[in-house]
């Protein structure tokens, strides 16, 4: 038996092969998951990448509360996306679980990484290895309504610089009466409060979350000071009643309604207001502590990483490097009123003269991000010790008891 000879001449086969391999490299097209709440800025970045690169990225928005499950199960089934953008607070748990690819060598050799915001470097490093970079950043700040300040006889160009001033200004604005209130916070939203309330505690000298069972938790005077200030505002009716049950649905809209004097918020407010309500007269300042000059912020947003076992690691690594490039930082982030994640580009052509963006850039440089395992358990869950402490102290009035209970529970979780 002899095998029949191919009817296609060898040269033709070679030409066909060459032609096929010269086609756009669809095999290197990438898949990327992004959490839904950060999908807008993520899409801006991916669109920019796709407009200038041969390998295209297909972006899929994953509901925030499904990201951990999907990533973990995809890793176990060997079906991970090539890239993933997720809430940076999950980084320690993901790194420890071995879900991400080690990028240390690549990033160390990247000159752009040297000026990457320190908070992102810290949160993405575990046992000396780095697993991701900041992708679409956000940071918390304090917003005040200039029109209400003016109406209340306050200086509309000067936001509060201490926690005591927050209370004082809120009281004066509430005195305007009717449905105008001095202050807003989402009382049943753990994530909102770690974002905008905890930085005031940190600014006033507190350490928040324990890294292990032997660490310190909720120490210093800041926690009590801030909780008592909130309790005063709640007791005196400076905060609307529905704040107690708000799970975050009104986190932004309450302030945007124009009926709230002061509220913690994020840098995202700038682009949102520019788009939705460009005439809204408000200012942004750093979240204050007990004394003038004491400030802090929560560095949030998304990090981008490569899931372990990704099928297109080389192209995915190229994207991670590109995220830190001038093009991505300026045309992808700054041009869209989003903060850059490189400190050397914080002051750029797009932020010049924009005091609000410069304030958030400053917040990014002084901000903190807690590097802890079990963040979701300690803070983000609906029954977490963090939100239970906030609610018990402010709405039930037991400040000391709430702090003690939360501290014990946090240490128990951290010791797991």
């Amino acid at each position: 038996m002899t095998r029949p000879r191919s009817r296609i001449p060898g040269t033709l086969t070679a030409c066909l092969f060459a032609a096929l391999t010269a086609l756009p490299v669809h095999a290197e097209d990438l898949t990327m998951w992004v959490r839904e709440s950060a999908a807008d800025p993520g899409k801006l970045m991916v669109d920019l990448w796709n407009s200038s690169h041969d390998s295209k990225i297909t972006l899929t928005a994953i509901p925030d509360n499904q990201m951990v499950t999907k990533l973990a199960t995809s890793a176990q089934s060997g079906d991970s996306p090539d890239l993933v953008s997720f809430d940076l607070i999950y980084m320690p748990d993901f790194m420890k679980a071995g879900l991400l690819t080690d990028l240390t060598e690549q990033l160390t050799a990247d000159p752009n990484y040297a000026t990457h915001v320190q908070a992102y470097k810290d949160i993405a490093t575990y046992e000396g290895k780095t697993y991701g970079v900041g992708f679409t950043p956000d940071v918390s700040v304090l917003a005040w309504n200039k029109d209400l300040y003016q109406a209340a006889g306050l200086d509309p160009e000067k936001g509060p610089t201490t926690i005591a001033e927050v209370v004082d200004h809120a009281r004066k604005i509430r005195a305007l009466g009717g449905d105008t209130y001095g202050f807003w916070f989402s009382g049943s939203c753990p994530g909102c409060n770690i974002f905008v309330t905890s930085p005031m505690m940190v600014a006033a000298g507190s350490k928040m979350l324990p890294r292990n069972g032997e660490d310190e938790a909720l120490t210093g005077d800041g926690v009590k000071l801030v909780l008592e200030a909130y309790k005063t505002m709640w007791d005196e009716g400076m905060i609307p009643e529905n704040a107690e049950v708000d799970t975050g649905a009104n986190f932004v809209s309450a302030f945007a309604s124009g009926k709230i004097g002061i509220a913690g918020t994020g840098g995202f407010l700038i682009s949102l207001m520019k788009r939705e309500n460009p005439d809204f007269n408000y200012g942004l300042t750093l979240l204050p502590g007990a004394e003038p000059g004491q400030v802090s912020a929560f560095v949030g947003g998304d990090v981008v990483a490569i899931p372990a076992g990704g099928k297109n690691e080389a192209a995915a690594r190229e994207f991670v490097s590109w995220v830190l490039s001038d093009e991505a930082q300026l045309q992808g982030l700054a041009k869209n009123s989003i903060l850059t994640t490189r400190t050397d580009l914080a002051d750029n052509e797009f932020t010049k003269g924009n005091e609000k963006v410069l304030t958030t850039a400053q917040a990014l440089s002084v901000g903190y991000v807690p590097w802890v395992f079990h963040f979701a358990d300690m803070v983000n869950s609906d029954s977490s010790p963090w939100i239970t402490m906030v609610q018990t102290a402010i709405f039930d009035g037991d400040v000391d008891g709430a702090i003690e209970t939360a501290r014990a529970e946090m240490l128990a979780i951290a010791s797991k």
Binding site: V245, A376, S381, D382
Partner: protein
């Protein structure tokens, strides 16, 4: 020979169903029980730890608080759903055009997803923009809009109102099917004998539609014991964790705290409790019939 052949043919016909049930019901159940004896994390890893998860579960005050709340919810909502379902079924069981229309209108919310209906009611109960509050103010029931989810009691009431609106039509249809299966000659005979409507209900409808009533009750109890969406979306477990249901707590353990093994153990406990409750209800009913 023929009997054996028939048996084989019967088995062949049953095979697809057996395979389906085995793959989608029995295997996941076996896997769940196995998981409950491990320390498996959502992020991967874990090992065999025997009964440790069950020991933790029996000493977990938050799980038992959630379980008690679930029981309270079930005890309150089940009679409400069954009572209203029976009343509506009695009202709409005769086949007239207006009654058929009423049936459809009452049944309509059943086809809406529970999550959608919960979100709808969440905003209807809103203090500032909620129509429900406005309606109560206009009717003079309350002086000013209420923050419904500020207290566990009012939060529970709000959820019960929303769920009743959503599912009462299902009970109505089940019970109505039972009523319509009763022969008309019985009612005619009762009427000739001068039996009032209430006497017909007590002596004819309730005894003969009892199977449908029990079935509706069992389904309602199981559904209430597994309540999750409505509390997740409307109360978020608040205030201060007072409206967590058992399934909500299982979700928290597995998907927020990443402790899959422990949440599997809680699921097994809940499954056993629900099975026991269902068997008890069916036994009580069959004893009553005897």
């Amino acid at each position: 020979m023929s009997t054996r052949r028939n048996a084989l043919v019967g088995l062949a016909w049953l095979t697809p169903t057996l395979a389906f049930v085995g793959f989608f019901v029995l295997w996941p159940m076996v896997h769940l029980v196995w998981l409950s004896f491990t320390s498996t994390s959502l992020l991967g890893g874990g090992q065999w730890i025997g009964l440790e998860n069950y020991r933790t579960a029996f000493g977990d005050p938050k799980f038992w608080a959630a379980f008690k709340f679930t029981l309270l919810y079930t005890v309150v909502i089940t009679p409400l759903l069954m009572g209203l379902g029976l009343a509506l079924a009695l009202l709409v069981s005769p086949n007239t055009p207006l009654r058929r229309l009423t049936r459809s209108v009452v049944f309509l919310p059943v086809v809406i997803g529970l999550a959608s209906s919960s979100l709808l009611w969440f905003w209807l109960f809103d203090q500032q923009v909620g129509l429900f509050n406005q309606l109560l103010v206009d009717l003079g029931v309350i002086d000013a809009p209420v923050v419904w989810f500020r207290r566990a009691e009012t939060g529970l009431a709000a959820v019960i109102i929303s769920v009743t609106w959503k599912v009462v039509g299902f009970g109505m249809i089940l019970i109505m099917a039972g009523i319509q299966s009763i022969g008309t000659d019985l009612f005619e005979a009762a009427r000739i004998d001068g039996a009032s409507r209430s006497l017909q209900v007590r002596r004819i409808i309730l005894p003969l539609a009892a199977r449908s009533l029990v079935m509706a009750t069992v389904i309602s109890v199981i559904g209430s014991m597994l309540a999750f969406d409505q509390f997740y979306l409307m109360t978020g477990g608040g205030p201060r964790g007072k409206t967590f249901t058992s399934v909500y707590w299982i979700y928290q353990s597995g998907f927020v705290r990443f402790d899959l093994g422990y949440s599997a153990a809680l699921s097994v406990i809940l499954m056993v409790v629900i099975m026991a409750m269902t068997v008890l209800q069916l036994r009580l009913q069959s004893r009553r019939r005897r």
